[in-house]
């Protein structure tokens, strides 16, 4: 499929983002252009300090930009007021973090239910849907476990279930395998690959882990605040 035939989930144009002021001002993103297509899993790689996490935060609408245009799922996200951006994020995005960020006092099912509770769903229905999602990631028998009683791989699967429970169209993953050993990292990526294959969903994964590169559809390399390359990793139709 040609690029012009694809619908973009995220369109980033000329984005500049700096931190600090005066002598301490550091420009982290120096004019980024990037598209993330619907139905693809995009890997964002590059050296530490290159701006990957900042770009991820910008795409998620968590950080304001200094210049440029940002469209996420057809919405000019940077132009939305903070409150509407938060609501938009809650309704359309899912997040997976390096450190899982599960709430330690909540069971696996309750953790997965959190995004639904934020959306205002009742607890009973939220937990029921959370349990169904846990079943989908193979953890239905761990629904009542607290995070401290789960392995790292299981915790990340809970985090994935949490990210997916409100059917987000954009999945944002920050180093999802960094805290896991090799086999667990592979399993997590297989799961992400599987859930990310939906034609109306995109997955953006920031990673350093070269062992998971083969799970991506494309890979964008970010160096010193600039996209230096975007490579196709998987041909259409390949598994």
């Amino acid at each position: 499929m040609r690029e012009t035939d694809r619908a973009p989930a995220v369109r980033v144009r000329g984005i500049i983002k700096s931190f600090g002021t005066g002598d301490t001002k550091v420009t982290v993103l120096k004019g980024i252009d990037l598209d993330v297509w619907l139905g693809e899993l995009l890997l964002l790689v590059g050296e530490s300090g290159g701006g990957k996490t900042t770009l991820l935060s910008v795409i998620a609408g968590i950080l304001d930009i200094d210049e440029g245009d940002l469209d996420v799922l057809g919405i000019p996200l940077a132009e939305l007021p903070a409150g509407k951006r938060t609501t938009f994020r809650g309704e359309t995005m899912g997040f997976i973090y390096q450190q899982f960020n599960l709430l330690p006092a909540l069971t696996a099912a309750e953790n997965v239910a959190v995004p639904l509770l934020i959306q205002g769903l009742g607890k009973r229905e939220a937990v029921r849907r959370a349990q169904a999602m846990l079943d989908r990631v193979g953890l239905s028998d761990r629904a009542d476990f607290l995070p401290r009683n789960l392995s790292g791989g299981q915790q990340q699967r809970v985090a994935i279930a949490r990210a997916l429970v409100n059917e987000p169209r954009l999945l944002i993953c920050d180093e999802p395998t960094a805290a896991l050993d090799g086999p667990n990292g592979q399993k997590i990526m297989e799961l992400l690959r599987e859930v990310g294959r939906a034609p109306d969903r995109s997955v953006v994964v920031v990673t350093h882990d070269s062992r998971i590169f083969h799970f991506g559809d494309r890979m964008a390399e970010l160096t010193d605040g600039r996209i230096t390359s975007v490579r196709e990793l998987r041909q259409e139709g390949s598994a």
Partner: protein
């Protein structure tokens, strides 16, 4: 999200218990000290409340009820002549030493009541009959006198002692509120009281009076002041005057006020710091919630719910402990401990203030929190 907030609060058991202990301690300290303080204030007015007279007339420069500035005997008739006065009777108050049969001396407060009506007599009698005061040499001793002057084997109906070398025979034991000075009170008739004390030119301490039915007491006291030139107060006014005198002249207000303030500061510091730490340690989790779409308002509601939940629990525990202390140590009025609805309301208000402060510093932190923290 209320459920999540409460699970987060109770899930960190160590911090929850620390918060609960801090707030319970603060509430207990404030309620306990406040109740003792108010108990002492009640005691300071027992010289007025025990006599249950609506109007007190005496020297216009009187500062408080235990102070005696004798006035002319004619004052009784002058007060009686004021329009709106239903009745007016003389009252003697003074300090004397009682000499017991054993030879022991005890300082007592002597109260002389008008013999015809016995107005100002104690409301409750534990033993004997108050009307027997009209028999020769009769006196009534309050229960604190029994306690202070040798116990029930020594101070009982039928027992005698001497007041200024004159015989006093106990005909009844009265139940009264303890006085601030904790001096036993001995009641007798006005005429006998005057005979007990050394001869003075003026012996009348107070005139007790009452307004006619339908006439406001405040109006009559104002009229007495105007027409007699004497100091006239309603019982409430005189009680308040006495209370202010005690506060100004004993340092008791500063003393208790400091402890109460300390309780408030300690409670605020412990709760504020612990709550802030609780928030800071959960910053990544809160950041994750923000990233997932929880607005600052939602997080603020969670924080407020957590603060007020632990606050209300702490209020209950602290109040319970203070009440237990009061019940155990102040039973029978031995120690001043008066828990009032006003005090409990004020403490509740103070606690809400502590909770609000604790929550606010956390909310400010969360409002400034960039959800990007979860990616670091």
């Amino acid at each position: 999200m209320n459920y999540v907030a409460l699970k987060m609060l109770f899930g960190d058991r160590a911090k929850y218990l620390m918060l609960l202990c801090g707030l319970s301690f603060a509430v207990m300290l404030i309620v306990q000290q406040g109740s003792i303080f108010w108990g002492l204030m009640v005691w300071s007015q027992s010289g007025i409340t025990n006599l249950r007279a609506p109007i007190w007339v005496t020297d216009p420069n009187i500062a408080q009820v235990e102070e005696v500035k004798p006035i002319a005997d004619t004052a009784v008739d002058r007060v009686r002549s004021v329009p709106g006065v239903e009745w007016a009777v003389p009252l003697y108050k003074g300090l004397l030493r009682a000499r017991l049969a054993s030879g022991d001396y005890h300082q007592i407060a002597l109260v002389g009541l008008e013999s015809a009506t016995l107005i100002g007599r104690p409301a409750d009698v534990l033993e004997g009959k108050i009307e027997d005061l009209r028999t020769p040499d009769a006196v009534v001793v309050d229960q604190w006198g029994v306690e202070r002057m040798g116990g029930p084997d020594v101070i009982k109906t039928g027992a005698t002692f001497e007041l200024n070398d004159k015989l006093a025979r106990i005909v009844a034991i009265a139940k009264t509120k303890k006085s601030f000075q904790n001096i036993p009170v001995v009641y007798t008739t006005y005429e006998r009281a005057v005979r007990y004390v050394p001869r003075e030119r003026r012996t009348l301490s107070y005139v007790l009076a009452k307004a006619k039915d339908g006439v406001p007491t405040e109006q009559v006291t104002a009229l007495i002041r105007e027409q007699t030139g004497l100091g006239a107060y309603t019982a409430e006014e005189f009680g308040l005057k006495t209370l202010w005198w005690v506060l100004k002249n004993t340092g008791i207000g500063v003393n208790f006020g400091t402890t109460i303030l300390l309780g408030f500061i300690v409670g605020t510091a412990i709760a504020g710091q612990t709550f802030y730490l609780f928030t800071v340690e959960n910053l990544r989790q809160f950041g994750a919630l923000k990233a997932m779409g929880a607005s600052t308002a939602v997080l603020a509601r969670m924080i407020l719910l957590q603060a007020f939940t632990v606050g209300l629990t702490g209020y209950g525990v602290g109040l319970g402990l203070a009440t237990l202390f009061g019940t155990m140590t102040a039973s029978g009025g031995r120690l001043p401990f008066v828990e009032t609805f006003t005090l409990l309301t004020l403490v509740f208000g103070a606690l809400l203030g502590i909770c609000m402060f604790s929550a606010l510093i956390s909310i400010v932190k969360l409002a400034r929190l960039e959800p990007a923290v979860v990616f670091r």
